[in-house]
Amino acid sequence: MRRVVITGAGTINALGEGVAATKAAMAEGRSGIGPLSFQDVERLSIRIGGQIRGYDASDRFTSAQLAQYDPFTQYALISGAEAMAQAGLEAAPDPARWGCIIGSAGGGHTTANNAYRAVFADQKNRVHPLTVPKLMANAAPSHLSIRYGLQGPSFAVATACASSNHAIGLAFQMVRSGMAEGMLAGGSEAMLNFGGLKAWEGLRVMSPDGCRPFSADRNGMVQGEGAGVFVIETLESAEARGAQPLAEIAGFAMNSDASDIVMPSLDGASAAITGALSDAGMAPEEVGYINAHGTGTAANDRIETAAIRAALGKAADHVAVSSTKALHGHCIGGTGAVELIACLMALGDGVIAPTANYATPDPDCDLDYVPNTARKAQVGAALSNAFAFGGLNAVVALRAI
């Protein structure tokens, strides 16, 4: 089978714009979570989040583009541009054989929120004529395909918090199998608006004061926003172009709990981890780092810990596990892509991002969470976990190269 590598990475999230800024914040354990700022925030009970700050879309896009680009499309385009530049590509080298898969849970959520506000609250009788192509969940992969001439398979995937990992895993499978020669893949989310947060706070799983994954004093998730996009191609084509691989994608697995719409499942999560190891031909002892789903909810962190123990066995005692959601927030459909940066940092730079805000050990969460301070380590293999509402799990396995 063909070996598949990442040759470009791009991101924008609450930690900063670009992979370098994001890695720097992760290495320092510096959080991008703070008070939220948008219209009607004072009517929310949850008022913190990982919001991208100092961002003015009109600095980057023309007014004609902004008529078509919801923030989630903007974030995907900004991330895609960085990834393509790093890969040394201005456009798809073989257009018919290159495509794009972008994960997003909410798609053009801000556009929908604003259109509803106009007709329901402001009593207007019309909305912007491009509202539909702006809010559709496939707007981000479509605009990336247009921008870079990607004429192969392109689509959006919506699997809530696992969307990015599903997108990256599918792109990996397509390139490995020969269905595509190269792919842009990742995820994007921009749901930090009044309607979006109002829906989330109704579930009673949000923390009013901070994301503290695996810590006994954790009290819920904190939402973030942003995107991550990666250039994925064969090792052979990377070498032929002289592109420097950042890491190898070695395996992927996805499955479904088929049990509860919101509660995670130990069996489903551990089977997904086991499946990714098996697909990669990776022994549990080989794994040096796991970027955990680690949402900071009571249920996820306890069950994910047990799932890692079930899948890795004794090797779980020696693996570094961290959740970077305490830093950038839970970027929902974009989160796995932003978190893949932490895997690239571990594999490529030998730095493991910490689990920030870790204060109190929890007897149910007894792994090495790299509390509060980044750690230098030689990491040869890493996993990225994503376990979504709806019971849809997706785990990506990577190796240093």
């Binding site: 706070e201 579930l203 009673r204 799983v205 909810t297």
Partner: protein, 93 residues
Amino acid sequence: MRPDVQDQVFSIIAREALREPSELSPEMTLDELGLDSLGLVEVIFAIEEAFDVSVPFNANEPAASQFDMSSVGAIVGAVERLVSGGKPSTAVA
């Protein structure tokens, strides 16, 4: 207990549990009534709408929430305290 509050809370919980209000008694727990975590947040939402109050409840730390949901009777008491507390109904949980 205020009979009006009790009747309304019983009615809300009974509707979520697919029971008749007459089948409920104060010592019953939501667990016994077959309400899972989603049923619980539906009950809280219905209480907030019916009484125009904001219920301080976080599913991650139910014990730390200042709203006793340990039994049907406890919920009635907690709602009575919220209703008589004169708190504004703005969504500050």
